[in-house]
Each structure stands twice: as structure tokens, then as C-alpha cells.
């Protein structure tokens, strides 16, 4: 609660983290946002069908603990699995962004931020409708 809405650290620069399937992560790594230090800590996680839920949770928590992450991009289907962790996270930075995934069509209703935005802007029912119209 203390970080919310207050002055955030205008630290030098922050990283972009990615949690997604192989294609997504490969594509983003091509743009050069990836970083892996000598200990093996990286700011990206490739999720395959073998990755367990707890691995994802642990990685997500580690990202939150680091103070040099600005954005965490996470495929929506994976976000569904750790939905409770995401809703718990209230701080401004890092901000959690849900991106579409290859297999699952993007569902705007499930995106936490979007659904709140639509609800506030248009009211409950109309908001949900507007979201559905987006695709």
C-alpha cells in the first residue's frame, strides 16, 4: 500500500521481463531485452508443458523482489494460472502486462486492468460488452 500512488524511484533504467511460451520468448529475446547474469538469474522464463505451476510462481515472485524490473509481460494463458499472485500485486512498479498467446485467443475480459478500465468507464454491463467487441 505504501508504494501505491506515491513517488516511484526514478532509478536509472529498468528491465523488461517476459514469461511466455517458446515462440514468444524467442521473439522478444531477438529484440534484445534478455539478460542473464553469471548466477543464472534471468529476466525471462520459457514455459513449456513440463513447467510446473510452482516454478512459474517462484519465478514471478523472484521478479517482483528484484528492484530493477519495470514491466513483466506474461502470456494470458499463463497469467490465468497465477491469477491470484497477479491480483495480489498492487505496486505501481513493476507493472504486469498480459499479452496474447499463440494457442489461446486473447480474452480481454480476463485481463485485470482492462476489465477494471472498462467497468469504470462504461459501468458493469456495457463495459463487458465493449470489451467483447474489441476483437
Amino acid at each position: 500500500m505504501s508504494k501505491k500512488g506515491k513517488a516511484f524511484r526514478t532509478k536509472g533504467s529498468l528491465l523488461v521481463a517476459v514469461i511466455g511460451d517458446e515462440a514468444t520468448v524467442t521473439g522478444f529475446l531477438l529484440t534484445g531485452i534478455g539478460e542473464r547474469n553469471r548466477k543464472g538469474d534471468s529476466n525471462f522464463l520459457t514455459v513449456t508443458k513440463d513447467t510446473t505451476l510452482s516454478q512459474i510462481e517462484i519465478f514471478f515472485r523472484k521478479l517482483l523482489d528484484r528492484d530493477d524490473i519495470g514491466i513483466i509481460m506474461i502470456s494470458q494463458n499463463i497469467a490465468e494460472q497465477i491469477r491470484n499472485l497477479i491480483t495480489e500485486h498492487e505496486e505501481v512498479i513493476p507493472t504486469v502486462m498480459e499479452i496474447p498467446s499463440k494457442d489461446v485467443a486473447y480474452d480481454p475480459e480476463k485481463d485485470v486492468i482492462l476489465s477494471r478500465a472498462a467497468r469504470i468507464l462504461y459501468g458493469n454491463e456495457v463495459g463487458m460488452e465493449k470489451l467483447r467487441q474489441i476483437d
Binding site: K4, G5, G34, I71, V92, A118
Partner: protein
């Protein structure tokens, strides 16, 4: 109020000043709240709009990735290997001031091209162009994502500040100002009561003085003419005095 307010004229002036101050604060906060709400709605609309575009960009990016895979084979392993220990591509946060609130803005900075040679080796066996195109697509996608992330953080920050401001506005409107008004009316009532009491006291004293004067005049004139009449007008001393 825990301690009783002394109903004096000075206190009346003090509380009237307080009321003016509170009203001014209330107006200012209301203006701030309105300005914030306006920004808020704009941001919301932008978020909905931009996320729509993001879906399309993502599909394009995936398509180009599939093309690159087709052309160059599966290069994901080499991409993974080429991850550096420190990357240039980072985010800068700057803040924008809206109606007194600092809103964060992310800006992407840095370039992946002049990094180590591994990545430049990527497409050598074939499909280098496809990989290049794929990289560009993803870079475009990343840029949109960073914009959306900025909007998201602004949204969250504004939401919180609006809640706090509204709480203060409501507190002023429904608690502080009514309390001050109540105190002012109490003091005014007490002052009125005091002046009324003073007036009655004054009147009673002058009445008494007048009565005494008339009586002493009667006594001075002598008791011949008007004993009975005097008695009937003034009553006797047995009659109780009217108390106010």
C-alpha cells in the same frame, strides 16, 4: 468537539475565518478531483484502444516468427545462448505532472543491434533476412507494449490518487464544514441570548427606577389627593413581582 467553545465575539470571528478557509480548500480540491477524473477517462479510453491494436501486432509478429523459423530452421536455441549478462535495451522512467500528480512514463531505450556477435551470426546459415524482419516486428510490438504499460501504470496511480482526493473532498463537505457551521450558529445564538438578557435587565432596571421615581414624587406631593388611586394602580407591596 471535546472542549466547550466560549461563545465570544472573537471566537465568532475565528470560526468564520475557519469556514472561509475550509470552503476555499473544498473548492480547490474539487477542481483537482475534476481535472484528475478527466485525465483518468482519457487514459482509460486510450488503454482500451491500444490493447486492441496490440492483438493485431502480436499476430503479425508471430507470423513473421513462423516465417523465420521456416527459413532459418529453429534458431531459438542460439537466441537463448546469445543472451548477454547485461543488455542495453532498457526502460527509462520519466514522470509527467498532471494536476499535481506525478504520472510515470516508460520509454524504451537502447539498441540490440550493436550487441555481441552471436546474434549477428544467427542468420548465416540461411534466412537471415527473415530473422531480421522478425526482429523488427517484435521490436514494433515491444514498443506498443511499453506504451500500454505506461498507460497501465498511470491508470493505477491515478486511480489511487482520485480515491484519496475524493475522500478529502467528502470529508470537508460532510464533516468539517457542517461542524464549523454548527459552531458558528451556536455562538450566534448564545450572543443573541446574552444581548436579549442584557436588554431585559436594562429594561427592568429602568422600569424599577421609573416606579421608584413616581412613588417618591407621590410621597413628596403629600397623601391628600390620590391615596386610593395610587393603591389601585400600583397594587400593594403584597403583590409578587413578575419574574422574567
Amino acid at each position: 468537539m471535546s472542549k466547550a467553545i466560549l461563545p465570544s465575539r472573537m471566537n465568532l470571528a475565528v470560526f468564520k475565518q475557519k469556514k472561509i478557509g475550509a470552503k476555499k480548500g473544498f473548492d480547490l480540491l474539487k477542481k483537482k478531483s475534476d481535472a484528475l477524473k478527466k485525465s483518468f477517462r482519457e487514459i482509460l479510453a486510450k488503454i482500451l484502444e491500444t490493447k486492441k491494436r496490440m492483438g493485431k501486432e502480436f499476430n503479425l509478429a508471430l507470423i513473421s516468427l513462423a516465417e523465420a523459423n521456416f527459413a532459418a530452421g529453429d534458431f531459438s536455441k542460439s537466441v537463448l545462448d546469445s543472451v548477454k549478462t547485461r543488455t542495453n535495451v532498457r526502460l527509462n522512467i520519466s514522470s509527467e505532472n498532471v494536476a499535481g500528480v506525478h504520472l510515470p512514463i516508460f520509454s524504451l531505450r537502447g539498441d540490440a543491434d550493436d550487441q555481441n556477435d552471436d546474434r549477428q551470426m544467427l542468420g548465416l546459415t540461411g534466412g537471415g533476412q527473415a530473422i531480421q524482419r522478425c526482429k523488427e516486428r517484435f521490436q514494433k510490438f515491444l514498443k506498443i507494449l511499453v506504451d500500454i504499460a505506461s498507460l497501465q501504470t498511470q491508470f493505477i496511480t491515478l486511480d489511487e490518487v482520485i480515491k484519496v482526493t475524493n475522500r478529502r473532498v467528502n470529508a470537508l463537505e460532510y464533516v468539517v464544514i457542517p461542524r464549523i457551521e454548527f459552531t458558528i450558529s451556536y455562538i450566534e445564538k448564545e450572543l443573541d441570548e446574552e444581548s436579549r438578557e442584557d436588554f431585559f435587565r436594562l429594561k427592568k432596571v429602568t422600569d424599577n427606577k421609573k416606579n421608584e421615581k413616581i412613588e417618591s414624587q407621590k410621597i413628596a406631593k403629600g397623601n391628600d389627593d390620590l391615596p386610593e388611586q395610587t393603591e389601585s394602580i400600583f397594587g400593594g407591596e403584597d403583590e409578587e413581582e413578575l419574574l422574567f
